[in-house]
Amino acid sequence: MKSLLLLSGLGVGAMVAELINIKRFLFPLVCLGLIATIGVSIYDWNTDIHLFNNMLRLDNFALLFTASLSLITLLWLIGAKKYIETETSISDKYALTMFTLLGAFIMVSYNNFTMLFIGIEILSISLYVLAGSKKNDLFSNEAALKYFLMGSFATGFLLFGIALIYGVTGSFHIDVVGEYCRANAGNIPTMFVAAIVLIIVGLAFKVSAAPFHFWAPDVYTGSPTMVASFMITVVKTAAIVAFLRLFFAAFGYIPGTWQAIISVITVLTMYIGNVTAVFQQNVKRMLAYSGVAHAGYLLIALVALTNLSGGAIFYYTLVYSIATLMAFHILYIVSDNKNEGVGFEAFNGLAKRNPLMALGITVSMLSLAGIPPLAGFFGKYYVFTAALEAGRYKLVILAVIASLISVYYYFKIIIAAYYHKSNKAPIELSPAHRFLYIASIFLLLFLALAPDFLIRWAK
């Protein structure tokens, strides 16, 4: 409750700030607000608060992700400050960011289908606007429109599914639906299964899983680089957690109805994401496909649905977000604020131009590729372990092969940074960026040392 109020307050406050002209205080204010939400999550730990007639449930799982989403947003904000404040309508962007995060918070703590829908909509509508926030850029406009059209379409499916669930069970409450599933496990009507399929479609769209991923490469590439990095980390995390919450509490009792469907979606996502990324010449687009591929790995934990799944997804999303954010931040600087993105040659000679950035992009790529001893390796390790516990051997083998393919395109950047020459001038970093890279590199190494330490919280 406190963090929801805090964020809404910040969002509204940011809009008011435009009127009373205190824009320059916004950045520290928002940063403090995010730190406060992390603090509140720690304060509320182990309390299990139910809000609004049990429509929201702030259990430890929700609090954990509230904190991790705030941390990711904080890391994002430090790097994105430059983008937010060089364009017009500064306070709008702060406000929209806060509302997006608010939607994400609801998505990780809902206990009622209406809340799920409201959370998704708060998040999406803010994002539609953010995607088009570079008003004079044609690509940005195209991305916003595409995202809006397809997003509304997907929401339609989701709503249809929720309606069918209500038709069968007579309730929007996850607990009631879960009770229904348990009681009728052997005798589920087709209408209910159809509802599950439609909800899967709606959520798969949000995590950009194939074949509902088509919007993702186009939107990520067209949106302003910083907005894309926000979408590909925060939104994906929130969506996969929404998925997990629903399946843990309700559909987990009837795995036979949906496991095959999600398995197929998982494999398709991993392979379409990884294989398509191989041929991309545009780094931003490559990262977009990499984001699709990682959605596939995350879905593996969902298919497994063991006690380890929650911890695995928490660790994976955190590590993936840190690595991806760092890659996007470096890309943003390297591409000189060009929105349409740049090719791999932009990274040429980065080791000479700025060794810290070269190291950062290397650590980020290695972590995303899942090379030990970086944290990304342990993320994959826990996801695969969860799947193995559930006996999903074939899925793990396919996932390992898929992640082998990914090495190809991740290493292209590292090779460019270290082995190709460039005569461009050295890059000067602001202290904020330097801090960001050092912190991210440190986190990717440190989290690898103590993965169990984090996983334990999610149990």
């Binding site: 059209l149 299964v193 379409i272």
Partner: protein, 633 residues
């Protein structure tokens, strides 16, 4: 007391870390003293542990450091233990090790790799201590591989010379063959007994019948490991080549300690061997054949270190002979005395080489007695000790082996006696050619002849003293005194002794045998003196015509050549075929195909991303329709 146990191996490791990381920042003398100091402290601790075991009825002191591996039902922990057997080895390793470290301070003083040398030496001592202190076969294996690595690094220490590198590689590869045997033996032990801990394995083994096939298999596999590490037939060829390393390394690793690891391993698993008499017989056979075989090669070698190397192989053969007859204490006794006099001989040879400016060919030496008095005197003591002349150390241990052999099998005895005759001959030949007669080197070398500095001569003197008195720890029972070593080691071999005491002979026979051996040896020494001092004969120059048998021996029975043409070359040939065909044509092609196929499919798959919203929505709806179709069936 238990905490002290951990200190013994940790100190040299610490020394390795400090000297290794310090690199060029540490001054030469400082790093030399650090490296020697840690080994000295280890020695002091080993002494304390030794007296503790000697005075108390406790059979072992152990400390569990941590659980090392736990996988499924398998678990192994890193536990260090000191029992009487380990204690003896600790004293030899750290005691002789310290003297050799001290010696190296003077010997390696002008070498540019000085600090690296000392860090390797410390690392070696660490692994050697781990080898003898582990309480299960896995830790022994770690030490076993570790000393192999250090041996490799130190043989090839002067890596700018390519033939030294080849010698290092040869040592490593030949040892790998033995290691494979050890590894397989270890697997079989685990499969049979369900554990690798000594205590569990040995206590279960007691209930096996004698000559059970699985015990024979285990002991023979372990023995293959011992054959490799302790340079026995047919895997001995690496040891003479290993003389490429700096002389202190030859003394420490390739004479006093590492090569006796095989003896330790067999002595440690004595109960297994006692219960497999067939394996014991093979051990004795290999030992005695190696003892004689290597001694004959020693007769015609002209490199001062090579003579000592073949002598080492031969002496190790004696130790295996003793083990093979179930006389485990005797084998350990010979390990101890051999460590004293062989380290002494190697270090003396090093002092000679130092004085000669790197020359190792004894045909170019001669008359060094007056120039290097201390070296000469100590070398003389070493030579007397190895030849088996009383009351020097080698006499007692070798006499004990021969006495057992006489009781056990007369042919072994005869061969053993023959070997000791050969030993006396080649050792005195070496002594006479090096120190007697007139100087045969260049004028330049003669001008620079000088006695070595104190840090070299002090270890020589200490080792010489030990070579004189070292034998008194195991006086024969015929002298009506207590065999100190035997009573100290008795708990380790108690179970074996219950089943099979080594054959005994009467005291009168023993006296007779001793007298016989002494007389023969003295005759042989006089013969050698007559040939090389009185007549002043010299070994033939390289390439001079020889009759068939001497030629065969001088070429070391062509064993290296045989190995080369029957094993190394065919393997090379197979390797080339696999490289040309399998690697390039099949594996590389496959890998390239996979890569190209991925890029090709990527090029196709990306076309589904058309950029048109209508198409995207269409695919989405189609997918939903297919999913709904799927669930309705």
């Amino acid at each position: 007391m238990t905490k002290l146990v951990a200190l013994v191996p940790i100190l040299p490791l610490l020394g390795f870390v400090i000297v290794g990381l310090g690199g060029k920042k540490l001054s030469k003398s400082l790093s030399g003293w650090i490296a020697s100091g840690v080994v000295l402290i280890s020695f002091v601790v080993s002494l304390i542990l030794f007296f503790h075991l000697n005075q108390n009825s406790e059979q072992e002191v152990s400390i569990k450091l941590f659980d090392w591996i736990a996988a499924g039902r398998f678990s192994a922990d890193l536990t260090l233990m000191v029992d009487p057997l380990t204690s003896i080895f600790l004293l030899v390793i750290t005691g002789v090790g310290f003297l050799i470290h001290l010696y190296s301070i003077g010997y390696m003083h002008d070498d540019e790799g000085h600090n690296k040398f000392f860090s390797y030496l410390n690392l070696f001592v660490f692994f050697m201590l781990l080898l003898v202190m582990g309480s299960n076969f896995l830790v022994m294996y770690v030490g076993w591989e570790g000393v192999g690595l250090c041996s490799y690094l130190l043989i090839g220490f002067w890596h700018k010379n390519n033939s030294y590198n080849n010698a290092a590689k040869k040592a490593f590869i030949v040892n790998r063959i033995g290691d494979l045997g050890f590894l397989l033996g270890m697997f079989l032990i685990y499969v049979t007994f369900g554990s690798l801990n000594y205590s569990e394995v040995f206590s279960q083994a007691k209930f096996y019948v004698s000559d059970e096939p699985v015990l024979i298999a285990i002991t023979l596999l372990l023995f293959v490991g011992a054959v490799g590490k302790s340079a026995q037939l047919p895997l001995y060829t690496w040891l003479p080549d290993a003389m490429a390393g700096p002389t202190p390394v030859s003394a420490l690793i390739h004479a006093a300690t590492m090569v006796t690891a095989g003896i330790y391993m067999v002595a440690r698993s004595n109960i297994l061997y006692t219960l497999a008499p067939t394996s014991l017989h093979i051990v004795a056979l290999i030992g005695v054949i190696t003892a004689v075989f290597a001694a004959t090669i020693g007769l015609l070698q002209n490199d001062i270190k090579k003579v000592l190397a073949y002598s080492t192989v031969s002496q190790l053969g004696y130790m295996f002979l003793a083990l093979g007859m179930g006389a485990y204490t005797t084998a350990v006794f010979h390990v101890v005395t051999h460590a004293f006099f062989k380290a002494l001989l190697f270090l003396g040879a090093g002092s000679v080489i130092h004085a000669m400016g790197g020359e190792q060919d004894i045909r170019k030496m001669g008359g060094l007695k007056s120039h290097l008095p201390t070296t000469y005197l100590t070398f003389l003591i070493g030579t007397i000790a190895i030849s088996g002349i009383p009351p020097f150390a080698g006499f007692f241990s070798k006499d004990e082996i021969l006495a057992h052999a006489f009781a056990h099998n007369k042919i072994f005895w005869l061969l053993g006696l023959g070997g000791s005759v050969l030993t006396a001959f080649y050792m005195f030949r070496l002594l006479y050619l090096t120190f007697f007669g007139s100087f045969r080197g260049t004028h330049h070398q003669q001008q620079h002849l000088h006695e070595s500095p104190k840090s070299i001569t002090i270890p020589l003197i200490v080792l010489a003293a030990l070579s004189v008195v070292g034998g008194f720890i195991g006086l024969p029972e015929a002298f009506h005194t207590k065999h100190l070593l035997k009573s100290f080691l008795s708990p380790v071999f108690a179970d074996s002794d219950l089943r099979m005491l080594p054959a005994e002979i009467t005291h009168a026979t023993e006296y007779a045998l001793m007298a016989l051996a002494i007389i023969i040896v003295i005759v042989v020494v006089l013969l050698a003196r007559n040939k090389y001092v009185v007549k002043g004969e010299l070994p033939l120059q390289d390439g001079a015509p020889m009759t068939a048998l001497p030629k065969l021996i001088a070429h070391k029975y062509y064993v290296d050549e045989i190995y080369d043409s029957f094993i190394v070359k065919p393997l090379h040939w197979i390797g080339t075929i696999f490289y040309r065909f399998m690697d390039i044509q099949v594996i590389d092609a496959l890998v390239n195909f996979v890569g190209k196929a991925t890029v090709w499919s990527s090029d196709r798959v990306r076309l589904i991303q058309t950029g048109k919203i209508g198409y995207y929505v269409f695919v989405m709806v189609l997918s939903v329709a297919l999913l709904l179709l799927y669930i309705s069936y």
